[in-house]
């Protein structure tokens, strides 16, 4: 730990001078993913929280990656208190001690939440998924129903948009190849299964436009650059509402996962952060979130009481969950490096 301590010792005075001393002065800082998701959180939670508690709130946004937090904690940068993270970030960061362990009794107990939303270091913020999206104005009549159709370039000629990561791509390939959802990750844990997924990806590769930011998807679909795409529902639903588009979603075989709220271990405002966490997980508050963004809720009571219409484009609607697959973050923590390396080699060939 010599290295880390030396780094800290060297960096601490500087960072304290630049922002550390401000940490007592700066308000409670919450960090989201920006865009419409952050807007929704502000409207549903943050404004009301400041109004009712009188605690001022500062917002920041990031693009994920637990390394960012590790750097902050190691460097003595205490500018963030509460952050929205993905599952792999949660697992790695919790192991590293970057996050506070949560007091679940104060949050209403572990059993008040859907099981995937519960973790020692984090509580589920929202439930989201990756599905098939296409433009109803371009594919009239029966569109693709599932991943096998997504792969069928004879019936649905044209390019497909896929996220330029092995994560999701390998799972969807196996689903398209007929692997039952509950066998996807066991299959991927074998060398033969990985080879099978890549072979299936080979079939569609010439017809793929790889995207790397979800913000590209509405444009790719809207301009006809691709006829269908892997997408999260939110942006397409918003485009349908605000721009009069006719994007359609196919939920069969979707992959869903939870984003979590974590409190950083070096937060100087832990009590206020816990207060905000409690506020954001209360059923009556969570129900408000569904009004601003199509997302699944993690509080069981909120899920039960929320207007069913608001569930329609979310993983919380049971009708959407045929053949659905929960993202196995443990698998990706363990296989991520190797498969990313192999995927990058494959995608470049």
């Amino acid at each position: 730990m010599m290295t880390r301590r030396a780094l800290l010792a060297l960096l601490a005075p500087l960072l304290l001078a630049s922002c550390g001393s401000g940490s007592d002065l700066r308000p409670l800082t919450v960090v989201g993913w920006g865009g419409s998701s952050q807007d929704a959180h502000r409207q549903a939670y943050w404004s009301a929280f400041s109004r009712t508690t009188g605690i001022p709130l500062r917002e920041d946004s990031w693009r994920g990656g637990v390394g960012v937090i590790r750097t902050k904690v190691m460097g003595g940068d205490t500018s963030w208190d509460i952050v929205q993270v993905e599952t792999e970030d949660l697992i790695l960061g919790c192991e590293e001690g970057l996050f506070e362990r949560l007091d679940w009794s104060a949050l209403g107990g572990r059993e008040a939440f859907i099981p995937t939303a519960v973790h020692d270091c984090g509580v589920g913020a929202m439930l989201w998924s990756y599905v098939i999206g296409y433009d109803g104005d371009r594919i009239k009549g029966a569109g693709p129903r599932n991943w096998a159709d997504f792969w069928d370039v004879k019936r649905f000629p044209g390019k497909r948009g896929m996220r330029k990561t092995p994560k999701y791509s390998l799972e969807f390939a196996l689903l398209a190849d007929g692997v039952p959802p509950d066998q996807v990750y066991p299959t991927l844990r074998t060398p033969a299964g990985i080879d099978r997924a890549f072979r299936k990806l080979d079939e569609i590769k010439p017809n793929v436009v790889w995207w790397s930011s979800i913000s590209q998807v509405p444009d790719l679909l809207g301009s006809g650059e691709v006829v269908m795409s892997v997408t999260s529902p939110g942006r397409l639903v918003v485009a349908n509402r605000t721009e009069g588009r006719h994007f359609k979603l196919r939920w069969d075989g979707n992959i869903y996962a939870v984003d979590y709220w974590v409190i950083l271990a070096n937060s100087p405002r832990k009590q206020e952060a816990e207060q905000l966490l409690r506020f954001m997980t209360r059923p009556e508050n969570q129900m408000r979130l569904a009004r601003f963004i199509p997302t699944g809720l993690t509080n069981i009571e909120a899920n039960r009481r929320v207007d069913p219409k608001l569930k329609r484009d979310t993983p919380s609607d049971p009708a959407n969950m045929t053949n659905a697959l929960e993202l196995d973050a443990d698998f990706w923590v363990e296989y991520g490096d190797q498969l990313t390396q192999r995927f990058n080699a494959w995608v470049a060939r």
Partner: protein, 388 residues
């Protein structure tokens, strides 16, 4: 002598700031490319025992016992992740192997012999996990640098290529340098005439034009990329134009491939080429060209023999700047490129922020940094030989 000390004292605060805030952290980070302290700091006894083991076949029971004890202790202390992740880099699956084994040990399963461990998980009876542990016993390692060059060390200590489907970094490095070189070349081809024009115009006209050159700075990468998508996509403006003019029959793929990368990167990096070149060109005596033509040189020859050589330091500075910035790009290539256009910085970012494999990130950074330093040195030498 005194004057030298005074000038040193004047820059000392900045120097100290740079050393503390930049150079030392960078060096500490780069050191991770060759240091390997996860295992020997978390499991000191096991590391010592691994060093004394000859590495032949399977380890003795004493070593297995030490490993089992320290594994359990680390699990209880919450530090098992360090070893688990480190071993997993080298041998995928080690992470879950360690965690499940530690869970079983915590639940009371015996861990006194190798056979005990093998009863918990058969993989303990295989040589590979032990070899990987022995390679990870620190304090120095060649693992990361070799891996960054698509190489690995086998059980016998030989350096081998990784399997073809895993070999990716050498390709990405070559691709990165190729893209950066070509972007620098395109910037030179497009930027030289612009800089020449700007330098030959009076300042009151040149300054507003310079602001136009700088415009790409002030738009975000996403907005720029979206704009290029509108222009270059299959049903985009450029394709419509090409078809309208009858140059092509069907839309051409202009984006989401290498061409898109070149277009977008050249666009955003062009100012970095034009500005230093403009500065150098402003310093070139305009009467030199007149002198050349009075001496009998036709315009093109005068340009080639008199103006061009004097502007080369600016070209070199611009090219070095563009190249250096270009090798660090990854957002733009990711947004407008295809599958085969990922650049090395994307890998570095992945290991730094996603997977927390900072050893790998450091090794890739080091391999990226060395050619850059060489090039900067070459650029400096070149600039020095052509005094302005």
């Amino acid at each position: 002598m005194t004057r030298r000390w005074v000038s040193f004292a004047l820059i000392a605060p900045l120097l100290a700031f740079l050393i503390v805030s930049f150079i030392v952290p960078v060096l500490l980070m780069l050191a991770r490319a060759v240091t390997d302290r996860d295992l020997d700091r978390t499991w000191p006894a096991s590391a010592a025992a691994l060093r004394t083991w000859d590495g032949e076949g399977l380890p003795p029971d004493a070593l297995a016992r030490t490993v089992a004890r320290e594994m359990l202790a680390a699990h209880r202390a919450g530090t098992l992740n360090r070893v688990a992740n480190r071993l997993n880099y080298d041998l995928v699956g080690s992470r879950s192997l360690l965690y499940t084994t530690a869970d079983r040990l915590a639940a009371g399963a015996p861990g006194e012999t190798l056979a005990d461990l093998a009863r918990i998980d058969r993989r303990w009876a295989r040589a590979d996990i032990w070899t990987v542990m022995r390679h990870a016993d620190g304090p120095l390692t060649s693992y990361y640098l070799l891996a960054a060059l698509d190489r690995r060390i086998d059980t016998g200590g030989h350096i081998l290529r990784v399997p073809r489907e895993q070999a990716v970094f050498v390709d990405i490095f070559l691709r990165t340098f190729k893209i950066a070189s070509l972007v620098a070349l395109f910037c030179a081809l497009l930027g030289y005439p612009v800089a020449y024009l700007l330098a030959s115009l009076p300042r009151r006209i040149a300054n507003p034009l310079l602001i136009l050159v700088l415009l790409p700075f002030w738009t975000s990468a996403l907005v720029r990329t979206a704009a290029w998508a509108v222009l270059l996509q299959t049903n985009g403006v450029v394709n419509d134009l090409l078809q309208y003019m009858g140059l092509v029959d069907a839309p051409v793929q202009l984006i989401y491939n290498r061409l898109g990368v070149y277009v977008a990167m050249t666009h955003v990096l062009l100012p970095f080429f034009i500005l230093p070149l403009y500065g150098v060109m402003k310093g070139i005596d305009p009467t030199a060209m007149r002198a050349a033509s009075s001496l009998g040189a036709p315009p093109l020859l005068a340009f080639l023999k008199v103006y061009l050589p004097q502007s080369l330091p600016g070209v070199a500075a611009g090219a070095v700047l563009v190249f250096t910035l270009a090798v660090g790009y990854y957002v733009t290539p990711a947004l407008v490129g295809g599958g085969a256009d990922q650049m090395i910085s994307a890998s570095i970012a992945f290991y730094t922020s996603q997977s927390l494999n900072w050893g790998m990130a450091a090794a890739l950074s080091l391999l990226l940094l060395l050619p850059l330093l060489l090039m900067l040195f070459a650029g400096r030498t070149m600039v020095r030989t052509v005094p302005a």
